[in-house]
């Protein structure tokens, strides 16, 4: 191996424009100051040109080497794409397992700790106490648990009661009793069968109780 010179393999790849942009830039810098390597590259390029000429002269009809190369590359790409398509049929589709990205979680935790430490150094005592009080309210036991919408089953009959209205609903159908002519109502629930709201009608002064019931 020649000291302080790029390896011959890299010079050969550079000659055929087959080196990465970053390495090509490095080689170009070296060639600007090194006549020995420049000669080496020239020799490689002369050899490549000779091979190219020989191939053209031996191809019937003096075929276009450049075009042939492009067609071959194209065929290879089509083959790879076809292989990708077929691969989907050959493999058994398996559900993806949920993966905990522990490294991401660790990075996040580390960044959080550093942030909290930096904040706590720069915060006043009251502000620091407030911060820790808020951290204490975080419901740690719910972390890393899958979240599900907190709703009753779709097909369940649900009674809902609020000061403004009561409702019995199931499967997208609903019966609501309202009381638009009052200042609000008092909710009451009978755990056996019903929910209701009592209000005073602003016009008549009558005390009315609306209730909705489960099927009996």
């Amino acid at each position: 191996m020649r000291a302080n010179h790029p390896p011959e393999t890299e010079l050969a790849l550079y000659s055929g424009n087959d080196l990465s942009a970053w390495r090509s830039w490095g080689i170009r810098r070296h060639l600007a100051a090194c006549s020995e390597c420049r000669n080496e590259v020239k020799a490689h390029r002369d050899g490549l040109a000779a091979i190219h000429d020989a191939a053209v002269s031996e191809t019937p009809g003096h075929g276009n080497w450049q075009r042939l190369s492009l067609e071959m590359t194209g065929n290879i790409r089509v083959g790879l794409a076809a292989g990708e398509c077929i691969a989907g049929f050959e493999k058994t589709i398996r559900p993806m397992k949920p993966r905990l990205l522990w490294h991401a979680a660790l990075v996040f935790a580390a960044v959080s700790l550093v942030s909290i430490a930096a904040l706590s150094i720069n915060l006043s005592k009251d502000e620091r106490n407030g911060l820790f009080a808020n951290l204490g309210k975080i419901r740690w036991e719910r972390m890393f648990r899958p979240l599900r919408p907190p709703s009753f089953a779709q097909d369940a009959v649900v009674l809902e009661a609020g000061p403004a209205e009561i409702e019995v609903k199931s499967n997208g159908r609903a019966l609501s009793l309202t009381h638009p002519h009052s200042d609000g109502g008092t909710v009451s629930v009978n755990m056996q069968d019903s929910a209701g709201v009592r209000y005073v009608d602003a016009d008549s002064g009558q005390v009315t109780t609306n209730r909705v019931y489960y099927a009996q």
Binding site: E141, R142, R145, P146, L147, R148, P150, S151, F152, A153, A156, V157, V158, L159, E160, A161, G162, P163, E165, I166, V168, K169, S170, G172, R173, A174, L175, S176, L177, T178, H179, P180, H181, G184, T186, V187, S188, V189, N190, M191, Q192, S194, A195, R198, V200, D201, S204, G205, Q206, V207, T208, T209, N210, R211, V212, Y213, Y214, A215, Q216
Partner: protein, 372 residues
């Protein structure tokens, strides 16, 4: 009154042009009903399409007449929309009435029905009579919704509270009555009122850890039932499956009781969640468990998730085998914890409304003239 009924009939018939006739409720009272239907005003009712569903927004003011010879104290109408809520139904109860023979009175029904356009059927909306309570505590009606018990309890509460306010008036004059009324209005304003969702059998959520929580009990000295022990399952903002053990400490058999269920959240705030009822046959001295598989869920309060931490129970009413009832007296209800949480009776609400709208003199007049 007659002219008013005529106007209602006219309005009802005019509305027939705005709403399809099949959409209007069918009012169906028994032939021997002590209450007769005079007419209905459907005001601003309308029906509109909402996505793949039809929404009926009904505002009905029914005009009814007391066709019996007794004074009516309360009435319950049953509302059924079979194709909307199979088996489910609603009711509208008006209490604290004082309707004499041949007098008419209004009952307002405001409801919304949401049903799919396709496959929703078109069963009519039915309004029927479930029960009427008279001033002699006599009852008429099919009583499918246990209206007799509910109306009787309301009437007992009404008598208790009118007696209490009249006593205040007699002891301390209008000033003492006014002071109590103002205190009651202030308590009503401060009383927590929560939304609640209720479903039978099973949990609403399954990602909160569930725990068994023991009931504490508020002891009402003269209650005929003594709660002995109780548990319920709590998970976050959800409470379910209460189980209570009670003992009949009276000398009469009990056939129905309700235990008021107070919940306490993480911030120490208490609110009345509901009543745990039990239909049983409890002889004097006998003990019995009360089981219920219903789940209650409470949405966030003041923007904060509600986390239930504790529970308290108290006996809220009892029905004896002979049909008589027990309700807490005013001294029981004056226990600060109960006073803060339990709302006023229907009659107290009505009296407070008279004070708000018409003043102290009108309230005194109402108290003096009602039980003449």
């Amino acid at each position: 009154m007659r002219s008013k009924a005529g106007v209602a009939l006219l309005a009802g018939s005019l509305l027939g042009g705005l709403l399809q006739a099949g959409v209007l409720p069918k009012i169906d009272f028994p032939k021997d009903s002590p209450v007769s239907f005079i007419g209905a005003d459907y005001g601003e009712s309308n029906e509109s399409a909402r996505g793949g569903a039809m929404l009926l927004d009904l505002h009905a003011a029914l005009s009814l007449r007391n066709s019996s010879q007794r004074r009516i104290r309360g009435i319950t109408l049953i509302v059924t929309a079979q194709d909307v809520t199979p088996g489910g139904k609603g009711s509208v109860t008006v209490t604290s009435l004082d309707v004499g023979p041949a007098e008419s009175f209004p009952v307002r029904i405001d409801l919304r029905l949401l049903r799919p356009v396709q496959g929703g059927g078109n069963a009519p909306l039915l309004v029927g009579l479930d029960g009427v309570l008279f001033d002699d505590l006599g009852f008429y009606g099919p009583d499918k919704l246990n209206s007799k018990r509910a109306l009787t309890l309301c009437e007992f509460e009404a008598r208790r509270d009118r007696r209490y306010f009249k006593q205040l008036l007699a002891e301390g004059g209008p000033e003492k009555l006014q002071r109590e009324v103002l205190d009651s209005i202030a308590r009503e304003r401060d009383r927590p009122n929560v939304d609640v969702q209720m479903v039978r059998s099973g949990r609403a959520t399954n990602f909160e850890p569930e725990k068994q929580v023991q009931f504490a009990f508020l002891n009402l000295p003269d209650a005929p039932i003594e709660p002995l022990d109780g548990m319920a399952k709590i998970a976050g903002n959800e409470a379910r499956a209460p189980r209570l053990d009670v003992k009949n400490r009276s000398d009469r058999a009990v056939r129905y009781l309700e235990i008021g269920w107070i919940l306490r959240d993480g911030q120490g705030r208490e609110f009345l969640a509901g009543a745990v009822p039990a239909q049983l046959n409890l002889a004097p001295g006998q003990k019995s468990p009360i089981l219920n598989d219903t789940a209650l869920r409470f949405p966030p309060r003041d923007g904060q998730p509600l986390a239930i931490e504790g529970m308290t129970g108290f006996v809220s009413n009892v029905e004896f085998a002979d049909g008589s009832v027990w309700i807490p007296n005013r001294a029981d209800l004056a226990i600060p914890r109960l006073q803060k949480i339990v709302g006023p009776s229907a009659e107290e609400q009505r009296l407070l409304q008279i004070y708000r709208k018409r003043g102290l003199t009108a309230l005194i007049g109402e108290l003096q003239n009602r039980d003449r």
